[in-house]
Amino acid sequence: MAFLELEKLSKAFGTHIAVDGLTLGVEKGEFVSLLGPSGCGKTTTLQMIAGFVEPTSGAIRLAGKDLVATKPAKRGLGIVFQSYALFPHMTVTENVGFGLEMQGVSASERTTRVGETLELVGLAAFAGRFPRQLSGGQQQRVALARALVIRPQILLLDEPLSNLDAKLREGMQIELRQIQRTVGTTTILVTHDQAEAMALSDRIVVMNHGKAEQIGPPHEAYEKPATAFVANFLGKTNLVNGTTVRPERISFATSGVSGALAGTVRTRIFQGNHWLYQVETASGLVTVIRQNTGDNMPGEGATVHLAWAP
């Protein structure tokens, strides 16, 4: 029996079905991402686990106990919101200590635990500041510390990195993963960013129209997508003669290799660590990604032969 179980979970808003019979088991300590485009039901699922939205049907069990019957305030879950939702009138220390105060933890223990958690997220020096006086990344860490300090059974992350710029986001991904490993909290991340989901998760749940299209480790979902939707959502794909091929798996072969597909380079874009090609072939336009190894690459208008392992 899994630590957190969602069983045939459904939610309908009027006639619109947001989540449609989702079944998922999350093991203790696991990092699972709900991934999908906006409106796929991932956020509604998270809100049902948090207790802000009541399921239309189905069950949520945490460690064998029914969670739906538990009030949101009594669920003991740590949540990091997309907007962070920090309390603007409280200092960093007061923000992080709020959950402990609600649990009736003594002032002295509160000080210790808040200090430890701020140390964990690297914000010990900012304890006395107000949220407004912090950068986006720092606010994000306060939100994480506030969720972790209550030692939640589950950590729920709702698009936590989407408000950060690209560079900061990558840094925070690595840090988030390290922190999660350190504290070992079971974590559920909701995101529309497939790179983020793949970088952080033990398993990903690719969702579309309220249903799970595929549940599995990121590598498996990327290499063996169960559906065309999963294949497209997780990365660029080519559909050549009925088979899907990832662009980075196609190489330029010397002419005459059996099975190679002849074509003409339509566009070539340099992207630093790789080249992005659009090649015109008899079976349509094919996208090719080649590592930048420093070698000479075929230019626009050149005739090339494309080959890939089946």
Partner: protein
């Protein structure tokens, strides 16, 4: 051209000076003139009116009553208006729009009409509400409402409530929509959420609403003159009487100018306090 912005705002400045600054300055000047029953207004410079207004206990009582009424009106408006705005903000459409209209609708009706409504409900033995309550046997004598301070306070609070609701509503709009969920997830009950999370954040809204309501209540004329009448005068009805009944314009001018200065001082002080207290947190 550097002078262009000033030149362009010149028409507005001339209008402002013409209809606000000049009359105010003339009223100020008037308050230093002399007046007598038979000689009328004498354009001299004396301090008689100011000595009377500042020294006579009759005027002290009048001003003290004006600000006491304004204070309780503000308190009532805050106690009822702030929760009203909070509940309104929680409503879903279309109810939110409908009830916002219900709350703001009275602003479209004349203050005189609204105040007369109160008079019809509670005016002595023939007041509708009084009659009904007496017929039901709940009260033996009509509730005193007309010519009482309580009556003026209740009617003014009703008239000025929308301003408080609007001010609090505006500050509720700036709240992070997830902030209450964040507090709930950390284990806070509904009462704690309001007291520890929502109230501190809408406090600037409540205070700015209070400044508006206080200023309007202290300078209100129609409601105190209908409910309070001659028996229960406040600063504005006093100034009116001096001008139009006693015809002692200089004394009326002194009362009006004093009311203006006292209000400016209170509003300015309250604003300073709010800014100093909240600048660091909310910016």
């Amino acid at each position: 051209m550097r002078a262009t912005p000033y030149l362009m705002s010149l028409p507005a400045l001339v209008l402002f000076a013409g209809v606000v600054i000049v009359p105010l300055a003339m009223t100020m000047l008037l308050s230093f003139h002399d007046w007598g029953q038979y000689k009328g207004i004498e354009p001299v410079f004396i301090l008689k009116n100011w000595q009377e207004v500042l020294g006579d206990s009759y005027f002290h009582e009048m001003f003290w009553r004006t600000f006491r009424i304004a204070f309780f009106v503000t308190l009532l408006a805050a106690v009822f208006g702030a929760p009203e705005a909070y509940i309104l903000n929680k409503m879903k459409s279309p109810w939110r729009g409908i009830f916002l209209l219900v709350i703001l609708g009275p602003l479209l009706i004349s203050v005189v009409a609204r105040t007369l409504g109160w008079a019809l409900l509670f005016g002595g033995n023939s007041g509708l509400a009084n009659k009904a309550l007496m017929n039901m046997g709940l009260i033996s004598a009509p509730l005193p409402f007309m010519f009482t301070e309580t009556g003026v306070i209740v009617a003014l609070a009703h008239v000025l409530m929308p301003y408080m609701v609007l001010a609090v509503w505006a500050s509720l709009q700036r709240l992070d929509p997830q902030i209450e969920n964040a507090a709930v997830a950390l284990g806070a009950g509904p009462f704690t959420v309001v007291r520890r999370i929502v109230l501190p954040q809408v406090m600037p809204g409540i205070l700015s609403g209070a400044v508006i309501v206080f200023a309007l209540a202290a300078s209100a004329f129609a409601t105190p003159s209908i409910i309070g009448g001659r028996r229960l005068k406040v600063a504005s009805t006093l100034a009116y009487d001096e001008f139009l009944n006693t015809l002692n314009w200089p004394l009326g001018a002194a009362v009006a100018v004093l009311l203006l200065f006292a209000l400016v001082a209170i509003v300015w002080g309250a604003n300073r306090l709010v800014e100093r207290r909240y600048a660091q947190v909310f910016g």
